[in-house]
Symmetry: C2
Subunit: 187 residues, 2 copies
């Protein structure tokens, strides 16, 4: 619990240590086990590791996110597939779940966003559980990322997440969270 929640931090500075492809695969293989609605599993991930791939991302980044992203060993474009429901005959085979979505754009979008975000959180937690620090970010131009990396596909970017071994010397003090009574009610 300390490793995944209490002592984990969002990092901007990175130590010079690679994240192997085997480890990226292990992170996904853990995250994929988290629950989604009707097992719809809409998250898709593009892992950028090479300098060339990072340079393609650079023009889409908010100014404050450029240096840390370029320095990170890997950056995940956490996306979702608007055609996720085509996988439902395999993922949820005991009924016609595909029919719940086909042709229903608003329901597709809502389901992909909600469940793709749940899975994005599982990815962050899985990375931390495996000893990899995260730097998730929303500060980028989604349309530019989609045009650059996902043109002609049904994948859409959701958020970015730098991955690596964080440099604790570049952390700021932790920001406060809302107390239980400010965010929760009991009935």
């Amino acid at each position: 619990m300390d490793q995944i929640f209490r002592q984990a931090r969002t990092y901007s500075g990175w130590r010079d240590a690679e994240v192997s492809d085997v480890l990226l695969e292990a992170i996904y293989d853990l995250a994929k086990m988290g629950p989604t609605s009707a097992n719809c599993s809409p998250m898709r991930v593009l892992f950028l590791r090479s300098k060339e791939a990072k340079e393609r991302l650079r023009p889409a980044l908010d100014a404050g996110n450029v240096d840390k992203t370029m320095a990170a060993p890997a950056t995940a474009i956490v996306a979702y597939d608007l055609e996720f429901y085509e996988q439902l005959p395999t993922l949820f085979p005991h009924t016609d779940a595909r029919g719940w979505f086909a042709g229903k754009a608003a329901k597709i979008e809502e389901t992909a966003q909600r469940n793709g975000s749940l899975q994005g959180a599982y990815l962050i937690i899985a990375a931390r559980a495996l000893g990899i620090d995260c730097g998730p970010m929303s500060g980028f131009d989604r349309a530019k990322v989609d045009a650059e990396f996902f043109a002609g596909t049904a994948w859409r970017s959701n958020f970015l997440c730098n991955l690596g071994h964080g440099d604790p010397e570049r952390l700021h003090p932790r920001s406060p969270r809302l107390e239980f009574d400010a965010a929760c009610r009991l009935l």
Copy 2:
């Protein structure tokens, strides 16, 4: 990792064992530490424990979700606050983050949905880490829930999550997940 991902399951059947208020608070206190964009923390949670509260939820549930929800020791209405940005002077004090959102309905909605869903996933993982089983659900009428529980507020329901001690005898075999090569790409 087994407890939060590999062996954890979505439960429909519940053993007759309460979930105390202290434990619900502990679940939130762990989940709140997970990262959100600019620490915006839009998730709000209404925990339903009493028979009366559950009965108010019943008319909004899809038929297939009624029995298991009525039987669960607690049901969380995982929601988000469309006025989350009013907390930013406290949560992200070093700049005027409130100004990034005030008056921008589309950005507010997108940020609340994405980060409220990330936090919903943290809540599921936190519950499991503390030994509580989850039954998350999207099968309900969000407008009905909002009218019944959140009228006159800026809270909006996102998904439901039953909480308790799951009955493993009522589990089905685990559904398959997408393999790495089906969901991820390396660049």
